[in-house]
Amino acid sequence: MTDTNILPHLIQAIQSEMLNNEEEISALDRAIGDGDHLTNLLRGLDAVAKLNNELIQLDWSAALMKIGMTLMSTMGGASGSLLGSMFVSMGKTAKDHQLDLAGVTAIYTAGVESIKARGKSDIGEKTMLDTLIPVMNTLQTAVLESQDRSSVLKNIKTAAIDGMLSTKEMLATKGRASFLGERARGHIDAGARTSQLILCVIADELGKN
């Protein structure tokens, strides 16, 4: 990985991807949530994008922390506290790591663990974690197997998509969808979908370098 110069470009790519899927994401959160997930995420991304000039001056640790604090103080909702915690936690961990595969894996893992802790949640509960955890597992395997960069990026995408799709037939036990009981079945979780889109965009962009 390169330096934080890449951040503005990544953030912009994520924003476009969200807008490209605007209708679908909103519909997902309307169906089994309260319909604000995309708005929350866009508000957060917008605030982060405003910090571009500042972010590229920072090292990865500080930049991730800054992104986390910004998401936390602008998104609101369940996803704001979770994604905020994730980035703050990744920032803290980035201090002690190189940005090689093992380092990125450690940083990402710390982020996912902080969501699990804050959300008192785990895989199989029909949330963003159903996307995020399989990707974490994929990264950890990649480290063990010393996979090459392009395989890793490919595997991340597959894991994210499979994980996202797995939420469809789940009963929800966390988040608003849990209130709907059986009625939540048959719908993909909005947070799982946005996490997957974000991870895939990042993988695609990193693949271009």
Partner: protein, 329 residues
Amino acid sequence: MKKIINHVDNVLDESLNGFAKAHQDIVALNQQPTFVRRLTASSTPKVALISGGGAGHEPLHTGLVGKGMLDSACPGQIFTSPTPDQMLAAAESVENGAGVLFIVKNYAGDVMNFEIAAEMLDCQHDTVLVKDDVSLPENHSTGRRGVAGTLIVEKIVGAAAEQGQDLSQCKALGDHVAKNTASMGFALSSCTVPAAGRPTFDISDNEIEMGVGIHGERGREPMTMASAEELVQHITAAIDKELNPQSGQQILLHVNGFGATPLMELYLVYDLAAKFWEDKGVEIKRSLVGNFTTSLDMAGCSVTLTLLDDEMIALWDAPVNTAALRWGC
């Protein structure tokens, strides 16, 4: 979508400006971060009561800031919990030596954001979690939702704080009120979140959603539209099963509208709910009927029951001076 608004992005700010201006004798509005606080702090140290949650539930919580109730309220975006920095700034602005009590509705977003704020807060503090919605089983995976009963917790604990009870007393009282409060509601229509521009869900003319929260979402189950008697029976039975008030028990009965149901219907619901408990010999000591915990322009209502003792009645009756509840002042 047909709403009296300008741009969807500014609805909340413009509305808060109007709120603060209309009630400038009671509240002050802080911007960046956004919170509403009591205009004149108590002169002696008192526990600072802070609540908050997504906007769209007005008058909850901003309309409940003032003497005898909340010291501060943090409105989030519509149906989106506020952020930790709002809560932190609100707490720091009103804390005056006796600590902070957060009153939080049990929704993932509210709970987690308040948790983060609490972890960052550098003074004595505690949290009362309200989870009064009995449309969900007590052992629901996330716990029950906090709905219209929150106002009752805020009023009673607000009076106690005003009278000088300390943080641990306020916390214990809040837990006690919360434990003795149960609510359930149903919706006749969806509501429209301005940013979404369309109703959150579709519902047919002969269908209602039974067991709804307060964010305009679907309820626990769809039901065929029925008479007021049948609908109210459904929720009073669930509440009764939960709290099981005995003959002679004193209660507070609160009928809450979700925003678009006329007062005429809310009083009709009150009549049915009151009869239900009166028939059991339960004593309705206090009542509250109106739109207090709303979901924008949703049609429907909820019923809330709180088991009262004499101390709680005295605290309910204690002076309160807020935009939405006012007596004794």
